[in-house]
């Protein structure tokens, strides 16, 4: 392993891993700013900024940004989430300096030109329309709003057509200046990269970023409840959430193992019971997303309208049952999957650059693989069950149900009974 970390005087951290024999590399900038850092009148501005970064700088217009990276066969992309915004590139070894040049250019010197801004707002309104047409995306927007109502963390990342259309260049610049500070930015790189060279480039090219580490956003409050939306669809799309654990919580790995046993793969309880034994769905899975101050345990299933209440009954029984009866074989299987996943990620420069950057964002430094493996190994059958019981007791569930009637309300009511069981 050759992971190296350098914290620049500005507070920006560079973390890299040289992967021998690779001829390509992946690198990116991960910023600790996302939709929950938006003020009430900024709903959707993190995502608009991510788009507008590609729309021109003093040195390059939008077309030149795209052409510069694609002329060398590279790939440039970005993504906005609740707590982070990432800008990343994949390229051949020789083009690492070029990719850093482009990334630093679009982040430090975006011009937010009027015509580009108007057009890009329209692109995002189209993106919102596309999300509306994708029920298994949309149901998660409903879920997030049910879990965290009246809070930035509970709002759709894309914003609404009205909020997006309201933003000006001035407002974008205010958000950028307030949130993109050097101590909140990580440059992560992996593959055919040399740490010293990357540090040198970053020192020079990201010099305009300064500032103190950002205050943590307003504390999130998990609320729960049910949101039912009738739609003329083929399937009922069901998403369920309970309050999970923050990134640095001691029980994080126990809850991850619980979640994996419950809905992590083909051998998971939900897949086996709901899909394999009963044929009630095509897709069903569970996940856990940790945030800085809280977390979200979530679950998705799509099913026939007629089967929705049945499916929900089985799902609720499985969650409650797992917290009591998870066994050693299941825990060992979940551990094997998590450990193998770590090893596989080590062999992909894109996964590795992202992993290193996200660890550094969360913990201030990358976590050695051996330490992660030890944390996974330390989970016991009892700690996984306890994490499940604590999950059920921690919050009332949040439920979002989207699709054709008449079983929607009934499915939602059944899901809410999970909270009463724990009481």
């Amino acid at each position: 392993m050759s992971v190296e970390v350098t914290r620049l005087p500005s507070g920006l951290t560079v973390v890299t891993e040289n992967m021998p024999r690779l001829e390509t590399a992946a690198l990116g900038v991960w910023v600790a700013a996302g939709s929950r850092d938006e003020r009430p009148d900024e709903h959707g501005i993190s995502h608009l900024l991510e788009h507008m970064a590609f729309k021109g700088t003093s040195r390059r217009n939008a077309r030149a940004i795209a052409e510069t990276i694609e002329a060398v066969g590279g790939d440039l992309n970005a993504a906005t989430s609740v707590e982070t915004t990432a800008y990343y590139a994949r390229m051949l070894k020789a083009d690492v300096p070029l990719a850093l040049d482009v990334l630093s250019d679009i982040l430090s010197d975006p011009t937010f030109e009027d015509g580009e801004l108007t057009r890009e707002k329209n692109v995002i309104v189209q993106e919102i329309g596309a999300c509306e047409d994708t029920p298994d995306d949309l149901v998660f927007d409903l879920l997030q709003a049910t879990a965290f109502p009246n809070q930035a963390v509970g709002r759709p990342i894309l914003g609404t057509p009205d909020t997006v259309r309201s933003f000006t260049a001035k407002k974008l610049r205010a958000y950028l200046t307030r949130n993109y500070h050097a101590p909140d930015m990580i440059v992560g790189a992996a593959g055919a990269v040399e740490h010293a060279a990357i540090v040198d480039e970053v020192t020079r090219r990201f010099a305009s970023f300064a500032g103190a580490e950002n205050l943590v956003a307003e504390k999130a409050h998990f609320h729960g409840g049910a949101k039912v939306q009738k739609r003329d669809l083929e399937q009922v799309h069901i998403a369920l959430a309970m309050e999970g654990l923050p990134q640095k919580h001691d029980d994080l790995y126990s809850l991850s193992i619980f979640t994996n046993v419950l809905g992590g793969g083909m051998s998971s309880r939900l897949f086996q019971e709901v899909r394999e034994q009963r044929g009630l769905c095509y897709t069903i899975y569970a996940f856990h997303s940790p945030y800085t101050d809280t977390g979200m345990f979530g679950l998705y299933a799509g099913t026939d309208a007629a089967d929705a209440p049945d499916l929900m009954r089985v799902v609720i029984d499985e969650i409650a049952g797992a917290a009591e009866t998870i066994n050693e074989a299941e825990v060992n299987r979940a551990k094997a999957q998590m450990k193998a996943g770590l090893l596989m990620a080590l062999e992909s420069c894109s996964s590795r650059a992202e992993q290193l950057a996200r660890q550094t964002l969360a913990y201030g430094h990358p976590i050695p693989v051996a330490e992660l493996v030890a944390k996974i190994e330390a989970v016991s059958v009892e700690s996984a069950r306890a994490a499940g019981r604590a999950l059920i007791a921690r919050s009332r569930p949040a439920i979002a149900v989207l699709g054709p009637g008449p079983g929607l309300e009934s499915a939602a009511t059944i899901a809410e009974s999970l909270g009463r069981r724990a009481a």
Copy 2:
């Protein structure tokens, strides 16, 4: 490079690449059988077979199949397409023999047990429902049917609820016996694998497969025309196709470069003109899928109902214009992207195993990277333009439009004018 190929006496071919320093591997079985090999009364049976392979053998029930591979942290999956069905796994180095054992078991000895069959049919009916709720999937089913009406190649791979429910174990076995012959099967592996060991395992474990190479399915006839389906959606989803080129055609790479310049990335003409200059969509891209005896050039865009005719006009102009005015910078950029894509795929064991297997399926042997690079390099500005002009002249377009009115018919009519331009 350490690509090795062995053709067994049965005709089954094993192709591997040992990738030094890797601790994990990817391997799979690629079979030259897919939806277009189905008889009229078998619509959807290729995909049902792919599902039923996981539902039990003499040695393992469905749960044991899932548990066996996930207990070692491995991953097992499968996919059915028009001409191929793939079963593949990702695992740690030590578990390569186990993965080959499971894959050979599920392909050579599936039991098609009645209860499992009934449940799995229901799972697929749910999958069909999920596809119905995903307009950017569904519009491609409409497109395929418009391009190739009344032919197996034009039917949805999933089948319909009625056809899926009609299948019996006997019918599944007949399809399997007719299509899964040793000369139509490739075992591909890459990563921490040893060719001799894989050949040894495959020889032993796949011994039950024999038979002669399958006849090519009925020749596909590209027809074209328009299919408009009114739906209460946010966006109009537009897919357009023209007859492309078969896998072994001399002009394949010229057409690939044309397609890439037109709609391959952020710097492509469609992305720049439709999204960046006009803000008419969030998603727009073009692709070319070669089959054995024909090919399909395709294009997708999602847009506002009000903008659909406008968008279609721009798209048609861009296709026609590209065939006349593509320039050297664009061709060079497309070449750089294709070459870099090849190099990046070389560093991922999953991509590499699939690439080697698919090349062997198409050409009888893997193609050295240098040979692929030479084919890309050989494309000229003139040959790319010529491929575009030939594309426009080769067929009338097929158009599928799905979404809210009233611009649907008008968009379809505009698209059909592309054919008249070439005349």
